[in-house]
Symmetry: C2
Subunit: 385 residues, 2 copies
């Protein structure tokens, strides 16, 4: 992507609406823009970061044997009444009526719908255990949305649900999901911990939370925990299946309620948490796996034909993970933007280096700088993890 075309309206100053580092930096880097309280547009850089998170989560969920589905946002009152949560959920639930005065909520979580799906689609013990997941936009009418995508009213979640014939089978899948979550956060390059948790409105007997450690330790953000919840795994038992008559036929031809687990990951929130964990005074410091682009190729003078041609060549060879800063701006301004956006690797093409047939490769995180022969630059960058 050429920076001259990229829609990433960077800001020099901290916006007044933002209190915490990740919110400030996502606005300043042109990743997001506010549409209403707790409701955001994801601009191209924001969307790409989300996509990086989504891909890792999807791959690990599929590899761990889960099947992907997509449930609706409009959830009928009748199904939520079966679990009793239509009355319990309170004002966080967005409620809406259609033209025929049928009532729906906008899905904040999907236990009821997946339970009704399993009850319809899975009849026999032979089809169990099974784990289904989706990656989807959720809605919660937070009383005080804040911190940008960290606590918004419309956000992207991965939610998974498992169905079993025994506690032992649930235990096994819980461990399987716990291991998948660890692989997910490891691959993302995040510093995280796993904590015992109480399971709140979801009910159930046992649950753990995955927290990204916020080095910034902002008290408001972390409520004294110094961590940001990005994942939550629960053993639900028969809380939903018993109420909703979600049963299977066992080996003795008897009906039994399915035993359930559920497993959430806050997709949009991970992007904010990664920024809380990785930033400095100049901007974002992405873990490479989550950076919207891995590398920016920057000619010192975009009007200099030799510099631009060399930069273009390297940029094209690097492929879709590369930005080319072809803007007609001073080098200082260009580098400030690239560092604000947090691109892990810069390849700087300048007059001094070119005389020696070299370019400068600089790492965002360590500041490490190497002079690399032009024809080795692409391989050099590819090998950076």
């Amino acid at each position: 992507m050429r920076m001259s075309r990229l829609v990433a309206p960077t800001l020099r100053e901290d916006p007044a609406e933002a209190e915490v580092a990740s919110h400030k930096l996502m606005l300043r880097a042109g990743m997001i823009r506010k549409v209403a309280a707790g409701v955001y547009n994801l601009l191209p850089l924001g969307f790409r970061a989300i996509t990086k998170v989504t891909q890792i989560v999807r791959e690990e969920m599929l590899n761990s044997g889960a099947q992907e589905v997509l449930m609706p946002t409009l959830l009928p009152k009748e199904i939520w009444e079966e679990s009793g949560r239509w009355g319990e959920y309170g004002k966080e639930l967005f409620r809406i009526s259609d033209r025929h005065e049928h009532e729906f909520c906008l899905g904040p979580t999907h236990e009821e719908i997946i339970t009704s799906l399993a009850r319809d689609a899975v009849k026999s013990y032979q089809k169990l255990p099974v784990t289904l997941f989706q990656i989807q936009t959720k809605f919660r009418d937070e009383i005080r949305p804040r911190f940008g995508v960290m606590r918004s009213r419309e956000f992207i979640m991965k939610d998974a649900y498992s169905f079993h014939t025994s506690e032992a089978s649930l235990d096994e899948e819980y461990k399987n999901m716990r291991a998948a979550y660890s692989r997910i956060f490891d691959r993302m390059g995040l510093n995280y911990c796993i904590q015992d948790a109480d399971s709140g409105l979801m009910g159930g007997k046992f649950s753990e939370e995955f927290h990204v450690i916020a080095d910034s330790g902002e008290e408001e953000l972390a409520n004294g925990k110094r961590g940001i919840e990005v994942g939550h795994i629960f053993k639900l038992g028969t809380k939903y299946s018993a109420k909703m008559n979600c049963v299977y036929i066992d080996e003795e031809n008897k009906e039994q309620p399915m035993i359930m687990g559920c497993y959430g990951i806050g997709i949009s929130r991970i992007v904010a948490a990664a920024i809380e964990q990785g930033h400095d005074k100049d901007g974002i410091i992405w873990p490479t796996a989550l950076a919207p682009f891995k590398v920016a190729v920057v000619p010192v003078d975009s009007k200099d034909k030799e510099q631009l041609e060399t930069a273009e060549k390297i940029y094209r060879e690097l492929g879709s993970e590369a930005l080319l800063d072809d803007r007609d701006l001073r080098i200082g301004v260009k580098l400030k933007d690239i560092d604000l956006i947090g691109i892990p690797v810069k390849v700087i093409v300048g007059p001094k280096g070119l005389k020696e047939g070299k370019v400068e490769v600089k790492l965002r995180k360590s500041g490490e700088l190497s002079m690399v022969p032009i024809n080795e630059a692409v391989n050099h960058v590819r090998n950076i993890r």
Copy 2:
């Protein structure tokens, strides 16, 4: 994916709720289940077909220079009042109030939001032209939702919007998008045509529709057109930008309204349209590019060790596009399900073939059958288009 684990509850009989072939077959193949009128769960096979559509659309949009964003579902009344559509749109617009009595609609289309985004993020002629797109769930409270995902109230669309400094620039991008759409529908293997269209509520001067030809020619479905609209491209001009003060600074430092185009594709609807175009009495006949899985490996007797081992080996080598029908069912029942789901290629591992070291490869569409040596089966299947 193993059929023994796949959540695909197939039905032998046509469900009473469905009128047209695609709706019947998506229900019968276990691709979708109804949650409410015009609101569906996408089960694993349905979700995979949608993903095939999404990937082709995304690739071609990115290749044609568009940038991907994600706008919200909750759209504030105030922005819709700027264009005048809050009052105009009528009952198809789902309207909702939050806990503070602020009014929103659930986005049926995003002209207002993208225009407000462009007005905020793009200030100068130097950043134009630009095309932004998103792939997102949309909401329309249809008075009579029908035909399954063909005319539902919650559905997935790709919507793109372009911004220009001149009519000539808009013309160029309109042609660019028209060509991208043709590549998209060509890659999908669909038989389609392009028709002049009037542009309805969107306004604008010129528009064309892409129609998938429904061979079935069901009158109800096609309203006498014998075609199903799956894409629509518009020249909007300054309809939205003038009302919403979406301006850029031109080369003479003067404010000018941006000239706009918009370009939609009905993602979920394409899946239904492909089925209307491709089916027979036994079930779905997918174009290979949209099939949820390309190939099913079917041992005639899942309890026969040699058959199952041979099938497993071929299945594993084929990778993520393969199903293994490891269910302990009669071969006739298994093949009926595979044909109903519409898998383009079957690899049947039976006792007669094994004696000669061969498996049977059968094509869903033509019925063509070949006996292929076991160790050539994987390459043989990979070369089928």
